[in-house]
């Protein structure tokens, strides 16, 4: 049986389309950028922590559904936010999403499950 985490091949790039599919997610904004490829994911509800991430091609998994999550992604060049545990994207967030071109995905999984699924499918951790 080959089920230990060391067997996971972190070969990197994954399309946002695949991210949404793996998480049973609903793309609520930025569908036109769904073929973009990303390499890393970072999971946090603390935006100050997200703002310390230096890598490129990162997506954010968060339970923080507010305008600051979008502003944080915008400043950090993060191209996609996954809102876990059915957190809903508000009208204000949608408006900002359209302006900044950030892909917004709502998904039912917990932060732990969503992170685990993406990790085991090869998306790399930032640290």
């Amino acid at each position: 049986m080959d089920n230990n985490s060391t067997s996971i091949k972190h070969s990197g790039n994954m399309k946002l389309k695949d991210v949404a599919e793996m998480l049973n997610g609903r793309v609520v904004s930025g569908i036109e950028h769904i073929d973009k490829e990303v390499e890393f994911a970072f999971s946090s509800d603390l935006m100050s922590d997200v703002l310390t991430v230096q890598k490129d091609n990162v997506i954010l998994l968060t339970g923080l559904a507010n305008v600051q999550a979008l502003r944080t992604a915008e400043m950090s060049d993060i191209s996609c936010i996954v809102f876990v545990r059915n957190k809903k994207v508000s009208v204000d967030m949608l408006k900002l999403g359209k302006e900044s071109g950030i892909v917004l995905i709502e998904c039912p999984s917990s932060m732990f499950r969503a992170s685990g699924v993406l990790f085991s499918n090869g998306l790399k951790p930032v640290y």
Partner: protein, 140 residues
């Protein structure tokens, strides 16, 4: 050539926090500044903007852009900071639960602003307000 922008910040108004940083990002992109430099500028400016919203009553952001550097001056009216050395420490925070609900208030803002700037100055007077000066050089 120097470009100059100015923005007002309203204390407590979290819905607009980040508007100025977003506008600055747009301008720097149009000027074809290196994305790595833009990220340092707007990450620092955004944390500083959030600090005015979270901790002060009102403030002004002045941004000066020339061929060598981007200089940002944030001047606020607010409670000020009594111990700047302590405030600069990672993890020190007086943020309210409301600020923490917004995803901030972990005492990481000021250290990250400093880390992203090439020059950083902070002055504060208790009961009057706080002034931050952040410089990022365009050519590394």
């Amino acid at each position: 050539m120097t470009m100059h922008f100015e923005y007002k910040i309203e204390g407590g108004d979290f819905t607009r926090a980040g508007y100025a940083s977003s506008q600055v990002k747009r301008s720097l992109k149009q000027l074809n500044v290196d994305p790595k430099v833009i990220k340092r500028v707007v990450v620092a400016l955004y944390e500083a903007e959030v600090n005015v919203v979270a901790h002060a009553y009102s403030g002004i952001i002045e941004v000066y852009i020339d061929t060598e550097k981007i200089k940002m001056i944030l001047t606020d009216k607010g409670p000020g900071i009594s111990n700047i050395e302590l405030a600069m420490e990672m993890g020190f925070s007086t943020a309210t639960p409301e600020v923490r609900e917004m995803g901030f208030g972990a005492g990481m803002g000021l250290p990250n602003i400093k880390k992203n700037s090439d020059e950083f100055k902070i002055e504060s007077e208790v009961g009057i307000g706080t002034k931050l000066e952040i410089v990022v050089f365009i050519k590394q």
